[in-house]
């Protein structure tokens, strides 16, 4: 099962996703990237049905870029999240709904960091921490227990590692290669 997790701190958002692309019982790829960079300060993490994820995420990605080209400045994370949700909602009752679960992580220069949780029914919630997948059932309680709004980056990394350990040990078959991305400076760990 695919897994996404995000933790918001005071001036950063830490997100992670597993790296496995599977097709029924076979792991087809071990280094699959589930993060889509919408702009310099916004990341979209997308899991769900096979083709829908890439199609939808790339569609959102290109549209956010188009906004920047047309208007000269980038969309804020809140605006990008609402735009994404609107698209999901529009397709939801069409003949081709997109079955994708998303986390959008962004940093707004005036509002600070933001983590937005979206699911395939096009619900949207700004949350201090969030997770998707079966792993979410295992780790939300860990996050509830240890999360504080004033986490430093190292503390957030430790919390993330705790969650990942839990998912790796309790998960049935998946081998996890977690791929961390620390939003503020956008470097890969």
């Amino acid at each position: 099962m695919e897994y996404l997790i995000g933790i918001q701190g005071q001036d950063f958002v830490l997100v992670a996703a597993d790296n496995v692309a599977a097709s029924s019982i076979i792991q087809m790829k071990h280094d699959y990237d589930k993060m889509f960079k919408l702009s310099e300060k916004i990341l979209l993490l997308c899991v769900g049905e096979a083709g829908d994820t890439v199609q939808f995420a790339e569609y959102i990605q290109k549209n956010v870029q188009l906004y920047k080209m047309r208007n000269g400045y980038e969309l804020s994370p809140a605006a990008a999240a609402n735009f994404t949700r609107k698209n999901l909602a529009d397709y939801l009752r069409s003949r081709t709904p997109y079955h994708v679960n998303l986390l959008l992580a962004g940093y707004d220069d005036s509002d600070g960091p933001g983590l937005y949780y979206m699911d395939y029914l096009s619900s949207l919630a700004k949350a201090p921490f969030a997770a998707h997948g079966y792993g979410a059932f295992l780790t939300l309680s860990i996050l509830d227990r240890y999360y504080r709004p004033d986490l430093t980056r190292d503390e957030a990394m430790d919390l993330l590692k705790k969650c990942i350990e839990e998912v790796s040990s309790a998960s049935i078959s998946r081998r996890f290669h977690l791929h961390y991305l620390h939003l503020f400076n956008l470097f890969h760990l």
Binding site: M35, D52, V54, K62, Q65, Y91, R95, T96
Partner: protein, 332 residues
Amino acid sequence: MALEDICRFKDRHHKWFPFSSLEDTDTSLYMMDYFNLRWRGLRTSEKNSAIPLDFFTPPSANSASFCLPNHSTTVRRPFPLSHGTTTLGFIFQGGVIAAADTRASAGGLVACPAVHKITPIHSHLVVTSSGSGADCMLWERILTREIRLYQLRHRRRLSIRGTAKLLSFMLHPFKGTEVCVALTLCGWDKEAGDCAKDLEDSYFMSDESSSADVTRITDSTSPKSGPKLIYVCSDGARLQGDIFSVGSGSPYAYGVLDGGLKWSLSKDEAISLAREAVFRATHRDAYSGNNVDLFHITAQGWSQRKREDLKEEYYRDMEKRSKDRRGKIKRE
């Protein structure tokens, strides 16, 4: 294409091949047809008991303008269609190997023991197919046509990644229908030459600045030229990797491949590994069998080995085992 003419296939609303609407009208005869077209309703063949001749795309959210007759409800299949297969592809230091069995099964029947599951698209691209045989044949032809048209229009060959993306976009309207196509594109990208811009990822918006940066950050590891292996499926999945096996026999093939595959294999070792993987899969999987086709793709293009009967491989294997056993008994 002849097939297209027989099917009276007319891409009226550019849903399938939106790229054809990007070209100039004076450069192509194709476009003239579209302007003269009217919606004439369903045309049926008088001779063949009213089989609909027009080839419809399934109704999608975008087509609000016209209502299709009720072809969205799927037609019941007359017999179980062919799905069983073992195909595989992997990259090693000497290029790309593509291998597949040759059995087409329809339920429990071997519909054909000598099918070609690996089809060349152009001199440096070969596609292995699995899923529904008819769908794969059709989509391979469509892909070949589109790649050739691209080459004629843009005077350069589309890269393998671009080909995969094109195929994926063409298959997208059929997601959710019973189209079942799982293709592995195995090929070698030549050096870009004079074309500097990376066209594949920004088909609909060619822009220098941010869009190119955005896509580059997500796949900074893959070089522009060299061997490529991309899996495209009618579900919409599009995965680039170093080793793929598709079909009902793929778990068995993975077992052999994952153990034996190394980057530094020689060409002969790689070919015998591929043959062994297909053999083991056909031994265990009922829906794979008969012969094995092997293709080797390098910078010089693809080359095909003579089709080998796996029966011979089986006898060789049996012979080896009995020799081992005799050797063991002698020693004891």
